[in-house]
Subunit: 258 residues, 2 copies
DNA sequence: CGATGGATTGAACTGGTTCAAGTGGAGTGG
DNA sequence: CCACTCCACTTGAACCAGTTCAATCCATCG
C-alpha cells in the first residue's frame, strides 16, 4: 500500500528521531511484516503519503547490480530488507567497499549528476526507489523530510571518518575487531535489542575490500580471534562475539595478548 | 562589516552554485581583501545579513587547536583564510588526517553533541564562528542556507569515499600522485585559474597521516617523482606539477615506467 | 655561529601480500 | 542417499612494499 514508507527500524539517526516521531507515521510493511516509518508525514487529497506517488518497488536477487559507477544518478534508494554493498573501483580492478547497507538505509543522494559508486545486492533485497530530482524538489516544501535526510547524511559522513582512521592506521587485527563491533551495533539496531550473535551476509572478499586487506588476511584474523577465544565462528557467515570488552580494546589498539 | 559573509572563492559546490548565485550577495572581505559570498541572503531591519549577528571572528596562529575531539560541538566554523587540518586519533597516538580545509570550507556540522575530530591551524587562520544550534534552527526558516550547507556536506561525503579508495587500495606512489592532483584542484579553485604550481602548507607528517603512510615513505615518493621528472620540488612546501597527464594516470594505477 | 626541528637518505626488518595447495559444505543429479 | 562438482574459505610458505630505526642534511632563528 504505502510504498513510500521507509524502513527505519531503530533510532539510528540519533537525536533527530525523537523530534521526527512527533510527525511521522508508523505503518506495517506488507513486504517484510515489520513496522516502517513514513519518510514524510504529508498526505495528499486521497490521504496517501505524498511520497507514495513518486516511489516504485524494486526487487533484486543476490549479486545483482542496483546502480553502477557511471549510471546517471536518477534515483534515491531506500532499502526495505536485505543487504547491499557500495563500492568503488580502480581501472585495474582493485576495489574498495565503502559501505554495507541494511534495512532502513538510504543511498543515491551523495552524488552529483552521476553515481560515483556501484551498489550491488548481497542478499535478495527489497528496495524502494524515488526519482531523485522530485525528492530534491520536495525538500523546500517539506522541511521534515529534508531534516531527516540531512541528519542521515551527516551521520554517514561521521562514520566514513571513522572508517578512514581504520583504513589508514589500524592493523589487520584491529580492523577486523572494529568491523565485528560495527556489525554488532547494526544488528542490534535492526533487531532492537543487543545481540552478540552477528550475521555476516557478505563474503570474505567483501570484508577484505571493506577493510583494505586481502581475503587471506581476513581469514587468518578470523581464525586467530577464534583461537584466542574472543569470538566463536559458526560457519563463515555467523559469529558469536564472546568478549565484547576485549574486542573493543583490541579494536582501538589496546594491548591484549596478541 | 558583514562578518557573516562566507569565503567561497570558486564554484566548489558544483551545480548548486549557479542556482545559489541568483540569491546570494557578493561582498568584499576586509580581512583578506577578496570577494566573499554571503551564506544567507536575508537582511534584517537594519539591512544587515541575518547571520552577521550570530557570528564572531576568530584568529589562530599556526599549530593552535581550533576544536578538539571531546569538545562540545557548539559551533559551526567557516574558514576565511588560511589552512586547517582535521584529524582523528587512536588512544596510542596513531593519527589519521581526514582532511585539509582552506578558505571557504566549513566544519563543525558533521557531528552530534561532540566533535569527533580535532581541528588545528596549519597556517595562521582567520575563522568565522557561528553558534551551531542557532544555525540549525535557521535552516527551517531559510531554505537557501540549508541547501548550500547540505550540498557541501554531500560533496564532502563524496570525496571521503574517494579517499577511502585511496587509503584502502592505492600504493604509496599512487597516493602521492592523487594527493598532488587534489591539491592542484583546490589551489586552482581558490585562485580561480588552473595553476600547476602548488603550495603545500602542511608538513610531511601531515601528508603522511593523510595518506596512511610514514613520513619517510612520503619523502621517498616525493624524491622519486622529482627524479622521474613528473614534478619539480622547490623546497619542501612548493611543487610544480610538470606532467599532469602522467600524474593522473599514475594516480589511478596506470602503468608508467616506475 | 650553534642549536633546533623538519626533511631526506640508508639499511634492516616485518606485517600483510602473493602464490599455491588444501578443505569443507551446499547444490546437483544419478 | 551417496558421489561428484564447484566455489568460497582456510592454511602454508616465500616474498616484498612500506615500516622502523638510525644517521645525516639543511633551512631557519636566536
Amino acid at each position: 500500500m504505502n510504498i513510500a514508507s521507509v524502513h527505519i527500524p531503530g533510532s539510528k539517526i540519533g537525536n533527530a528521531r525523537s523530534k521526527a516521531n512527533k510527525y511521522l507515521n508508523q505503518k506495517t510493511c506488507e513486504g517484510c511484516a515489520s513496522k516502517h516509518i513514513s519518510l514524510c508525514n504529508v498526505m495528499d487529497n486521497d490521504g496517501l503519503d505524498i511520497l507514495s506517488r513518486l516511489s516504485s518497488d524494486l526487487h533484486k536477487k543476490a549479486k545483482q547490480i542496483i546502480c553502477s559507477e557511471d549510471d546517471n544518478a536518477e534515483y534515491l534508494f531506500n532499502i526495505r530488507c536485505g543487504a547491499v554493498r557500495i563500492s568503488k573501483m580502480l581501472p585495474d580492478g582493485r576495489r574498495q567497499v565503502t559501505g554495507f547497507l541494511f534495512a532502513g538505509d538510504f543511498f543515491g543522494l551523495s552524488c552529483e549528476a552521476q553515481h560515483s559508486y556501484t551498489a550491488e545486492a548481497i542478499t535478495p533485497v527489497n528496495i524502494c526507489r524515488f526519482p531523485r530530482k522530485k525528492i530534491l524538489g520536495l525538500f523546500q516544501e517539506f522541511p521534515d523530510l529534508n531534516e531527516r535526510v540531512f541528519d542521515m547524511t551527516r551521520t554517514e559522513l561521521n562514520s566514513t571518518h571513522a572508517q578512514m582512521l581504520l583504513l589508514g592506521r589500524k592493523t589487520a587485527k584491529e580492523k577486523l575487531c572494529s568491523f565485528l563491533l560495527v556489525m554488532r551495533n547494526k544488528t542490534s539496531l535492526l533487531e532492537k535489542r543487543v545481540k552478540d550473535e552477528v550475521d555476516l551476509p557478505m563474503g570474505r572478499s567483501d570484508i577484505a575490500d571493506y577493510l583494505g586487506l586481502t581475503v587471506e588476511t581476513v581469514s587468518r584474523q578470523f581464525t586467530s580471534l577464534n583461537r584466542l577465544g574472543l569470538i566463536k565462528l559458526d560457519g563463515a557467515h555467523r559469529v558469536f562475539l564472546k568478549n565484547i570488552e576485549r574486542l573493543s580494546t583490541m579494536a582501538e589498539g589496546g594491548r591484549t595478548l596478541s
